[in-house]
């Protein structure tokens, strides 16, 4: 029995091109069949390649949840932080070494449930980081509780008769708090998502990209929406690309149209710019500009 198993489980001889950026000793990953997080990771890897950022200057920080696993799977400097504290950790990382490109890869429950306060303040200060939010409308890893993004009337394990709480409109939240780049894509728009991440990687300031992902095991099963492939077909039929749409109109209802696209792209001084400018004004020549640990 064991011999046949080891024979069957022997590693493939050919190498997937993504293996340069993945910790292959941890693959296959734990994400369910038809989960969209793997697609988001692939798009992120393509974007990293396109943006031509040296890989030793990239760090990935993630919180807790299904998407929190990303930090363990990518072969970059990465940290799997505590629940909701991915953005504070990334803030510290960025201020400790401003040359780093920090990317927060986390879920909707982590970023907007427990970590909502950190998100709004980081966007307000315009910390130079990229936040990729995997939105599957539910707390998937902990058993399908009602999340801050669960649409009205959706069934979850803590709202078995339907959800009656109004959900967050994530792009509007990010826009009103001051993010410089706000976009939303679904897991089906792989190429547009990769292009969008490339743009956001090259942008200074707080960039936010919401990635709507199918969750077939919890969300689709509880709401009887079919398999992950059925949800992808739903995205195909019901997503509308509207670049520059007003972020107030981007609410997602239960099985409603999903407006995707790039909504905000503007320039604002980042936290470090403001810090340096203000202190130079206050202290004149006595102030030495803060640019990193080499100073």
């Amino acid at each position: 029995m064991n011999e046949t198993l080891t024979k069957e489980l022997k590693l493939p001889e050919e190498k997937h091109p993504m293996e340069n950026i993945l910790r292959m000793d941890r693959i296959p990953h734990i994400w369910c069949s038809t989960c969209g997080i793997g697609i988001a990771v692939t798009s992120f890897a393509i974007a990293l390649e396109k943006a031509k950022i040296p890989l030793d200057q990239v760090c990935v920080v993630s919180g807790i949840g299904c998407s929190g696993r990303v930090a363990g799977y990518v072969k970059l400097d990465s940290f799997h932080s505590t629940h909701g504290r991915a953005i504070p950790f990334a803030t510290g990382l960025k201020l400790g070494n401003p040359k780093l490109k920090t990317i927060v890869f986390s879920g909707d429950g982590d970023l907007f449930g427990i970590g909502g306060n950190h998100f709004i303040h980081s966007a307000r200060r315009n910390m130079d980081m990229l936040v990729l939010c995997i939105n599957n409308f539910i707390y998937a890893m902990t058993g399908g509780q009602c999340a801050a993004t669960t649409p009205l009337t959706a069934n979850t394990s803590t709202s078995p008769y339907g959800n009656y709480e109004y959900p967050f409109n994530l792009p509007h939240l990010a826009d009103s708090c001051g993010a410089v780049y706000v976009a939303r894509w679904t897991a089906l728009h792989v190429r547009r998502l990769a292009n969008s991440i490339t743009e956001a990687l090259n942008k200074r300031g707080f960039s936010f990209i919401e990635i709507i992902c199918p969750c077939s095991t919890i969300y689709a099963r509880r709401n009887r929406l079919g398999s992950g492939l059925d949800i992808m077909k739903f995205y195909h039929d019901n997503s509308v690309i509207k670049h520059g749409a007003n972020t107030k109109d981007l609410d997602i209802g239960y099985q409603s149209k999903i407006i995707v696209g790039k909504f905000v792209d503007r320039e604002r001084p980042t936290f470090l710019d403001c810090l340096n400018d203000w202190n130079r004004k206050k202290f004149g020549d006595k102030f030495r500009e803060y640019g990193g640990p080499d100073d």
């Binding site: 493939p12 038809t34 692939t42 492939l229 992808m232 077909k233």
Partner: protein, 93 residues
């Protein structure tokens, strides 16, 4: 794919041909690659892999145009495409 007219520069453009590689035991049978391949190159097979899913197989290898959509949309990093060198293409045509 049908065109309503023949593209004017169709003689000048060299069509790339791809070769699909699948790691069957890593596949979880989500069928995204099968559904979204623009040329219907892939199809789910009847065989089971180690995990008990049906991995895809290459049904029409000549149809692949190296668009890499299956590689991008695969959530399991189990499928990828390489470009076939030009000499092989001449032999095939």
């Amino acid at each position: 794919m049908k065109f309503w007219r023949k593209p004017l520069d169709s003689d000048e453009i060299e069509v790339t041909i791809g070769e699909i590689h699948i790691i069957k035991d890593r596949c979880k049978g989500c069928a995204f690659c099968v559904e979204y391949c623009p040329k219907d190159v892939l199809e789910l097979s009847d065989e089971f892999n180690v995990k008990g899913y049906h991995p895809p197989y290459v049904k029409n290898p000549d149809q692949c145009l190296f668009c890499k959509l299956c590689e991008t949309i695969c959530p399991e990093f189990a499928i990828w495409v390489t470009e076939k060198p030009k000499e092989e293409k001449k032999v095939e045509s």
